[in-house]
């Protein structure tokens, strides 16, 4: 009985949604042309940044990125405070035995290459597709590979906390420095060079390096907290 009512309600909702979507043409420009042309013409002309999505995320709507980094920090803190154990109750880890010889040797060889790829992706965030979030998640995947292959691989909590806190402080202080120079919060105050160079775009590479390191450290801490959880 409950299933029939839910299916009929969902069908009505789906028909209304599809009727609105069929009135829009797929693949034609139908909204007002103001927003898209403003971002696409101001990014290579005023900021000299090639990747338009990066300049929207960091410079034009940079306050939302600060909020998103705060939400990730809140998720890590909530997860490690819900799964809290006293010091004498720490059980075994969820990974009970090491993998075979081939997996152990292969992970030890692949781990520096994955870290190097992650650092490359978030340093060149304003030239090629990529950026802070992508590079941080790739670094967390590298640490996950090492944690799953070896039985007693430890990541020190102190190092993760120091990296995460200092990256957050750098992000907020760059924003405050923009305010001290007579502008608004998170304004670009360094000179922008020529386009498609590594040192171009003002404060955008600095902010993305801070965001990449912070996201990588946070997600590694989240995975490490969840893996150490066994009754």
């Amino acid at each position: 009985m409950r299933k029939i009512v839910v299916i009929s309600l969902l069908a009505v909702f789906g028909v209304y949604l599809l009727e609105v979507l069929f009135k829009l043409d797929f693949g034609h420009q139908f909204f007002l042309n103001g927003v898209k042309d403003f971002y696409l013409t101001n990014s290579p002309e005023k900021l000299n940044v090639a990747n338009v999505v990066t300049s929207i995320v960091v410079n034009f709507r940079g306050f939302d990125t600060l909020g998103e980094v705060t939400v990730l920090f809140l998720a890590t803190t909530a997860m490690s405070s819900i799964l809290y154990k006293e010091r004498h109750q720490l059980g075994e880890r969820a990974v009970l035995f090491s993998s075979s010889r081939i997996v152990m040797t292969g992970s030890k060889l692949l781990f520096p290459a994955i870290i190097l790829l992650g650092v490359y992706v978030f340093i060149h965030g304003h030239l090629t597709p990529g950026g802070g979030f992508q590079g941080g998640v790739i670094i967390a995947t590298g640490f996950l590979l090492m944690l799953l292959a070896y039985k007693d691989y430890r990541v020190s909590h102190m190092a993760l906390s120091i990296v995460e806190s200092s990256a957050g402080i750098i992000f907020a202080s760059v924003g405050l420095l923009g305010m001290l120079n007579g502008g608004t919060f998170l304004e670009n105050f360094l000179p922008t060079g020529t386009m498609n160079n590594l040192l171009s775009g003002g404060v955008i590479p600095i902010i993305y390096i801070a965001v990449g390191l912070k996201v990588g450290a946070e997600l590694t801490g989240l995975i490490y907290t969840a893996l150490n959880e066994k009754d």
């Binding site: 299933k3 999505v53 997860m79």
Partner: protein, 137 residues
């Protein structure tokens, strides 16, 4: 190439129909199922459907990615006319910036929800929401 059916072109609306179907399947999983982990799986499917719908709204026919790479410029000087001519054929970059945030926050929500599921199981020793509502304290 597109073939007409009931005076619509099927290839143009395939993305919209798929996205709405995935959203409805995810909503059914959240509303009907009784095991807690199955409800969180439905939430994950719902997130995927919504992100696909948002990005497929901002697509332009025969459009290119919104990046001024050296291969696209091919040695042209950067004047305002050249930039305006190139940006006529580019895909909308604003939905991509919004979906980038939405994916990361969706993962954060799932991580916190699953840690709450582990705590509930330790306390009640069952994962059925009807039995959890029956056992008071």
């Amino acid at each position: 190439m597109d073939f007409k059916l009931f005076d619509l072109s099927i290839i143009e609306y395939a993305f919209f129909i798929t996205a709405v179907l995935v959203i409805l399947i995810g909503l059914y999983g959240v509303l009907v199922k009784k095991t807690l982990i199955k409800i969180v799986i439905g939430l994950s499917v719902l997130d995927a459907g919504i992100n696909l719908l948002l990005i497929s709204v901002g697509y332009l026919k025969e459009g290119t990615a919104p990046i001024f790479s050296p291969a696209l410029l091919k040695g042209m000087p950067l004047t305002m006319d050249n930039i305006r001519k190139l940006s006529e054929g580019m895909v909308d970059p604003v939905p991509q910036a919004l979906v980038l945030t939405a994916i990361v926050i969706g993962f954060g929500v799932i991580a916190v929800a699953l840690s709450l599921v582990i705590r509930l199981y330790r306390h009640h020793h069952t994962l059925n929401i009807d039995e959890i509502k029956n056992l008071k304290w």
